[in-house]
Amino acid sequence: MANTDTALEHHVHELDHQGDDAWSGAQSPFKVSYGKIMMWYFLLSDAFTFAGFLITYGALRFSSPTWPVPDFVFSTDPFGISDYFGKAPLIFVTFMSFLLIISSVTMVRGVQEGHRENKNGVLIWMVLTIFGGLGFLGCQAWEWTNLIGKENMSLTRNTFGTHTAEGYYLDHEGKKSAETFREGESYLIHRHAPGGHSAEHGAQHEYKQGDQAGYLLDEKSFVHRKFVYTAGAKKGVTQTEQFGPAAFGALFFFITGFHGFHVFSGVVFLTIIALNVASGVYVTRKNGYEMVEKIGLYWHFVDLVWVFVFLVFYLL
């Protein structure tokens, strides 16, 4: 066995010095291992997939007359954080972004320790990276639960609508209320809990089915409030809140879900490779923990994609 290895290594060594034979399989191009090149090209193709999704989001957003305002949609956070700051839109997703950035940094440290063949160093930084990934997934789980369970968003229903002009709301009896809104402001259509009062805001009104003076209670017990525009083409006409563009929910769940699935598979692969590191598999390979480097590339890519998901969904 040892003999064969030496013979093969000798052969490879010879080929290394034959520049014109570089593509015959003995020497990888670009002076990196095949594994790393293929990881790069996989990431390139994955980048095109994500770009396709995000560009679709952009095209559909451009095609809609209104679009939910992200800092209204994503102004929620767990543990009543915004109670301390007053209104704090985007604070939760910003925290999620920081988590991913930090886990990316711990990954870089792991790769660096790998180059030094420092097994324990690699292991510690990889475990921290895994925790970062799990933390991100936890945050995303909370965000999804809130959107689906509390705000009743689904793949085909977008409970966030947007006003196209300024105006005021009608009260329960259909008279003008003190509540006004500006042009471009978003609203959330709440669901009326049957037999009780509205689950959100603790409104004490008892809602009746059908088209009423101040609201419309549809058959799925969504309360569409009525309002009047004080400007624009529909000035003075009483109108009912409509659901927002349906594509929003599908795009949100599909794109953040696809990214979240990447994070999830990243965590799984990181765990497998961390176990391999712990078992000492890579010590014998003596290639500077190249496997850690490859999963590192993938993990940074997941962070990179989040930069753009964050940009498109939350910031713009």
Partner: protein
Amino acid sequence: MSNLSYEESKKRVRYGLVLLAVVTGIEVLISLFGKGYMISSLQGNIIVLATCGLLIAVLSLYKAYFIVYEFMHMKYEVKGLAMSVVLPMLLLVWAVIAFFQEGNAWKSRRDEIQRRNALPATPAKQGSLLPPHTYQMDWKG
């Protein structure tokens, strides 16, 4: 790999962490500023919104560059590898322009349809599509 010493590369990583965190923070602030959270008179100002959007997009691209070149070590790879990954991405520049244009076209079509639907219906005159003085035969069964 890189020619940096261990201590130097550790310093680079700390620098990277601070840079990415600060840029992300700035992005959030610009985004909220553009939507008029800080100065309420700017609310709905389309020029401010567009400028801020562009600024955030540029900052995001910078973050992407930093992650790829620094964290993913593209800086220290052979130029050919870097180009074979980065150059295909330029196709996306066209994709963004084309599909946003397309989305805009869908919107203007819809608006046009709504406008025409709202027009009062004008009853079509008998044979109005035919030129005058055209002889028309009646169908007598």
